[in-house]
Symmetry: D2
Subunit: 156 residues, 4 copies
């Protein structure tokens, strides 16, 4: 999860690597599916490594969809689809910050899912770490994010 049009160059670089690592871990990548920002970069990264990508779109057709989405889920329900992204994920990676990303981190906390924050500025780190207690994890690199998710998921 992460910003669309508002993503920084650094968010996009990190999201691409995150997508690659998720694919190499043999996980399915779930994103918001649009052809912009973090969603698009993560899908492109996963595809570059032969991964499978699911895009849960806010729209009722495939216009504006990332070309690197393999399985489009067309919800036609706008931002209400954020909750489906979260419920369908085993762990939520947030890369960068925007209003939609903040909603998804909050919904992940509500749903009891681990949320791993990368490229999130101090105010967001402080707020979500407090809101989500043990569920929210702060990391500095995509590699650290995926290594942590592996430990959280397998309990290893």
């Amino acid at each position: 999860m992460g910003p669309g049009a508002g993503a920084s160059a650094d968010d996009i670089r990190a999201a691409y690597v995150l997508g690659q690592l998720i694919a190499r871990a043999d996980w399915v990548l779930v994103t918001g599916g649009r052809a912009t920002g973090v969603m698009d970069a993560a899908c492109r990264g996963a595809r570059a490594e032969g991964g499978l990508t699911v895009g849960i779109l806010p729209t009722d057709d495939a216009r504006g969809m990332s070309a690197a989405v393999d399985i489009p889920i067309l919800t036609g329900m706008g931002q209400a689809r954020n909750n489906i992204n979260v419920l369908s994920s085993v762990a939520v990676f947030a890369c960068g910050m925007g209003a939609g990303t903040a909603a998804e981190i909050a919904l992940a906390i509500k749903a009891g899912k681990p949320a791993i924050l990368l490229n999130v500025a101090e105010a967001g780190q402080t707020f979500f770490a407090e809101l989500g207690k043990g569920q929210v994890h702060l990391v500095n690199t995509p590699e650290e994010a995926v290594a942590l998710a592996k430990r959280l998921i397998t309990g290893a």
Copy 2:
């Protein structure tokens, strides 16, 4: 699409074959994802042929999910998820009839998708053929259903 607990033995046989043919056509199978009736049979059929199966579930966790679902989409939104099944499909196959199936055929008509009806009794055939005009197609076998979908999709 088709009934869950209310599916007949014949609905389940037809759904299993439909799943097989969908997989052999190299299409992704989208169902309601629960471990019952037509959804489960179609997923099992597709998996038997090495196909990929998406289950768009009404629940917010994976309890009650068909073991033959590869990609679970957990919506937590009950029957409102029927519209997502329809929007995410290129063509809708209805196999048998129930209240949820009827809602999905009606939503397919509303969304402008082709709906192919198999194992639907006369009253349903008459009603939906009239409601959906050129969008609703009546077939007698899974083979006929998939052959028709191929023609509709490719325009061949």
Copy 3:
């Protein structure tokens, strides 16, 4: 519930009277809220009698909303909002027929709500009466529809 742009003059007349009678019964009217067809006519009828009207809209803003809606619920989720209309209703009146109306009658059956059908042609009567068994009721006038709903709701 009933067709929008596809409503007949007779559907609209019946919906207006239905709205009036619902208001006189001191019930809150719930419709799909758009400024067209049965939704709009029922809201106008209810308002003419001083009733309260709720419109559960498919859109995320109030453009295209009936001017006779008192309480707009903006869902931004298209046809998936039909399930909210049904769940939020004690009884569902269908006046006329269209793809959206058919979906709502089917969802009412699924949700265990009584569905009262007015101005529905024979094919629809036959299909839904069979699908919904004791839950689906066929009536000939708005007066009969509301009298029946009173009996069903109060058990009198």
Copy 4:
């Protein structure tokens, strides 16, 4: 909007007064509708002043609903209903903080609605003020919240 079970005594006192002031302003109060925390207190406050209350519930029936809800909207879609609360509101008051509340403030920013924060601790103030720029307003009392909303809505 505000926490349910996690609401503090102070959140509940402030929400009750907010409900009273919303009713006195002749506005319709929209809440999440459950019989707990800020939602319940705001509805009780509004009702005490003769206001009209809408509850947009996560459930598909009225169990667990605040007794002070006049118009229950039963969505059956869990936390995805938060987006409907926000879209259906002209301005969003957040009173206290929790994961659901944070999601709603973020969705309000995304939807371009003004968000007025009361009883929000410093980390949340800092984060949302930055995220929502001119859309997020920090206030200290219910009176200040409603006075500000009046100015924002009427542009006076």
